[in-house]
């Protein structure tokens, strides 16, 4: 069976950051404003993408208002369904097949397994772990955000 056309997209310009993203490869970001990303520090923010190459702004240390970054200095995976390397927080191990969400204990854009951090209604699952990882290590994640709409009550 032949494959079809490639998927095309209109790139959304990201040219400002709200904090230094140097060394934040593998962490999740959300849109803080148009064209501006910020580390996701809790599981309630709407997933935008994953940092592949971090960077600081053109005015290091000055992020208020969000400051500009050099062209192409920040690389993100923001395409739904992409598989990307992500950084696990200190909140326990990850097993392939686990759903991942933002680690709210570390609150630094790293990820935790739902086995170690139970999601609550209204939060966002960011994707599915494809490989195992120990705390503070990396795993592959398929970026497929989904909203947690209902948690079944425990059986009586």
């Amino acid at each position: 069976m032949a494959l079809g056309a490639t998927t095309y997209k209109t790139p959304n310009i990201i040219n400002k950051i709200s904090e230094d993203l140097t060394g934040r490869e593998g962490c999740g970001v959300f849109l803080a404003a148009a064209n501006t990303v910020q580390l996701a520090t809790n599981a309630s923010v709407l997933p935008y993408g994953i940092i592949v190459t971090g960077t600081d702004s053109l005015t290091p240390g000055d992020y208020s208002p969000p400051s500009s970054i050099g062209d192409a200095s920040l690389e993100l995976v923001d395409q739904l369904g992409c598989v990307v390397q992500v950084l696990i927080g200190t909140n326990g191990n990850v097993t392939a097949g686990d759903f991942l969400l933002i680690d709210t204990v570390d609150a630094d854009g790293t990820f935790a397994s739902v086995a170690n951090q139970a999601p609550v209604e209204g939060e966002w699952i960011w994707g599915l772990a494809l490989t195992d990882a120990a705390s503070s290590q990396q795993c592959l994640m398929r970026f497929q955000p989904q909203n947690v709409q209902y948690i079944a009550p425990p059986p009586p």
Binding site: M1, L3, G4, A5, T6, T7, Y8, K9, T10, P11, N12, E25, F30, L31, A33, A34, N35, L46, V52, T53, E75, V77, D78, Q79, L80, G81, C82, V83, Q85, P145, Q146, N147, Q149, Y150
Partner: protein, 143 residues
């Protein structure tokens, strides 16, 4: 860190329309029920999201019917980012949006009931009637 290869898709053939889509660029489409290969404007949040009109067109004979090859262009790949039209009410960044009665996009707050659909998230802001970038990531409201 290098990025990987491109994503591939097998396109679904859309060969007819239920009504003239001229000037409907940026509006939401749904597959016409029981008519394979036909799309129409999604005019209610209950309509199942199919894609977004990028280049509108009328049919070969005008109105409902077959379209010329390549006349109609649609973004239908899940996760694509596309320019869409705002309906009544301003759009803010990160807003979850749905369609109004004209296939234009409005806030989902108060407009999506259980069983209806969110179409995506706004990546840029827009005034009422303006245009904004939306990431097409439809999902249904369950509770």
């Amino acid at each position: 860190m290098a990025l990987g290869p491109l994503t591939y898709k097998t396109p679904a053939q859309i060969t007819s329309i239920a009504a003239d889509l001229t000037g409907s660029e940026g509006c939401g489409l749904t597959l016409t029920t029981a008519t394979q290969g036909r799309v129409e404007i999604a005019n209610a949040p209950a309509d199942l999201p199919y894609g977004i009109v990028v280049v509108g067109a009328d049919s070969v004979a005008g109105g409902a019917g077959p379209i010329a090859a390549g006349a109609l262009e649609i973004v239908d790949a899940y996760g694509c980012v596309v320019q869409v039209q705002a309906g009544a009410g301003a759009i803010t960044v990160n807003m979850l949006v749905t369609v109004d009665s004209a296939g234009k996009f409005i806030t989902s707050a108060g407009n999506v009931a259980v069983g209806e659909y969110y179409w995506g998230i706004a990546l840029t802001a827009a005034p009422a009637g303006g245009q904004f970038l939306m990431r097409f990531q439809p999902y249904g409201r369950q509770v």
